[in-house]
Amino acid sequence: MAHLALPDSGVAAVRPTFDQVYQETFAFVWRTVRRLGVIDSAVDDVTQEVFVTVHRRLAEFEGRCAIKTWVFSIVMRVVQNYRRSRRRKGAAQPTASTVVDPEILADSGLDPHEQASRAEAGRIVHRLIAGLDEEKASVFVLAELEGMTVPAIADAVGVNVNTVYSRLRAARKQFEVALERLQAEEVNRHG
C-alpha cells in the first residue's frame, strides 16, 4: 500500500493499482453500503458495481484527495442509483441489514451472548440510520462510524465544510432522539 495516499493526506504520489485500491477500500465499501441501507441480498451487487466503476475510472483519479474519499464518492452514486431503482420498482424502502455473517461470528472470539448483543446493536444502528435522510446518513456514517474528518467528508460528498458540520449536527441530534424513543418504547413494552 506504499503507493496509496494516507487517509486524508490529500495526495497520492503514484496512482494506485486497482488491486491496491480494492485491498485498501473493500471493507470500507462493504460496511458503508450496508450502513447506507442496502438490503442484504443486494450488498454484493452494489459493492461489485462500485468496484467496476472504480476500475473504469481509476485513470481519472488525480490524487487530490485520499483514495478512500474518492471511492466514497462512487459509493454514494451507486447507492443512490440503487435507491432510485428500488423506488422505480415500487419496492419498500430499504431495510437495514439484519444478517450477521456466521464466519464473522465464528471468528470473533465472543461468547454467544456477546455475539447476539453485538448483532442486535448492529441492527438497531442500521434502523436508526435508515431514519436519516440520505445526506445526513452519509455524513453520519463517515464521521461517526468511519472516523473521517470533516474536510475529508466535505470532499467525499461534494459540499463545503460548513454544510458537513450542519448535516452532522442535525444527524447526531436525530439519531440520539430516535434512540431515546426506541429505548422508551422498549421500556414500555417490557413494563
Binding site: F26, A42, D44, V52, H55, N81, V100, D101, R118, L168
Partner: protein, 246 residues
Amino acid sequence: MDELNSNARALLDAANNFDEPSERDRERVRAAVFLRVGSVAVAGTATLAAAKASSAAASAGPLFASTLTSATLFGGAAVKVGAVLVMGALASVGAYVAFHPQPKPGAVVAAVKAAPMVASAPAVTLAPAPPAAVVDANDLPVEEAKASPTRAHARSVDLEGEMKLLRQADGALRRGDAQAALVALNKHAASYPSGVLSQEREGVRAIALCSAGSTAQGQAAARRFLSLAAKSPLSSRIRSACSVSE
C-alpha cells in the same frame, strides 16, 4: 460542535464489527468484479493504467467485450445473455449470491444433500461425472468456513483456469456440441469442485443436458438451479433450454 452523546456512542461501540465483511465476501466480490472487467487488472498482477485496462479488456475477446459494454446494474438481467451466454451469466453476481445465501446453513445443507447437483440416470452418453461434481455439504460456504477458514481464499486462486473451462463449455454449446460442453463441465467439476464458479457450472450443465436430449436430467438440474438462483441471468436461458417454468 456537540459530540454524539454517550448513550448513542455506546450503541455504536456495541455494534462494532457488525458490518465487517468476511474474507469470503472479499474474495467473492473480487471474483465477480474480475469476471466483469476482465482478468488482468483485477488479478493484481498489472498496474491499472486506463489504456492498459481497456486494451486488456478488448484483447480478452468478445465475451469480455460484450460483458463490459452491456453490463448494467439492478436490472435483474444484468447482462444481455444471448451471445455472451456463459460470461454474461458470470458477469452478474446474482447467481452467486443466490447460491450462497447468508445464514440458514442448515436449510441449505439439507437442500443440497437431498438434491445432488448431478443426476445419476445416464440418459445420454457423457464423460464419467467425477464424484467431485456432486455438490455436498462440504462444498458449501458455511460448512467450508467452519472446516477450514483458508479454503474459501484458496479456491479463488485459479479463476483463469475456471473461466477457461467454462468458456470451452460455452463455445461448445454455441457450436451445438452439448457433449463437448458436458466434458468441459465435468473437467471443471473435477478440477474445481468448490470453485468460485461451481454454481454457474451447474447452471450451464442444466442447459447442456437439456440440449443433449437428456431432458429429465436437465430439467432436474434446471429446477435445482432455479430454486436457488431464480434471478440469475442464466435463468431465462435455462428455462428456455429446458422448458421449465419455475
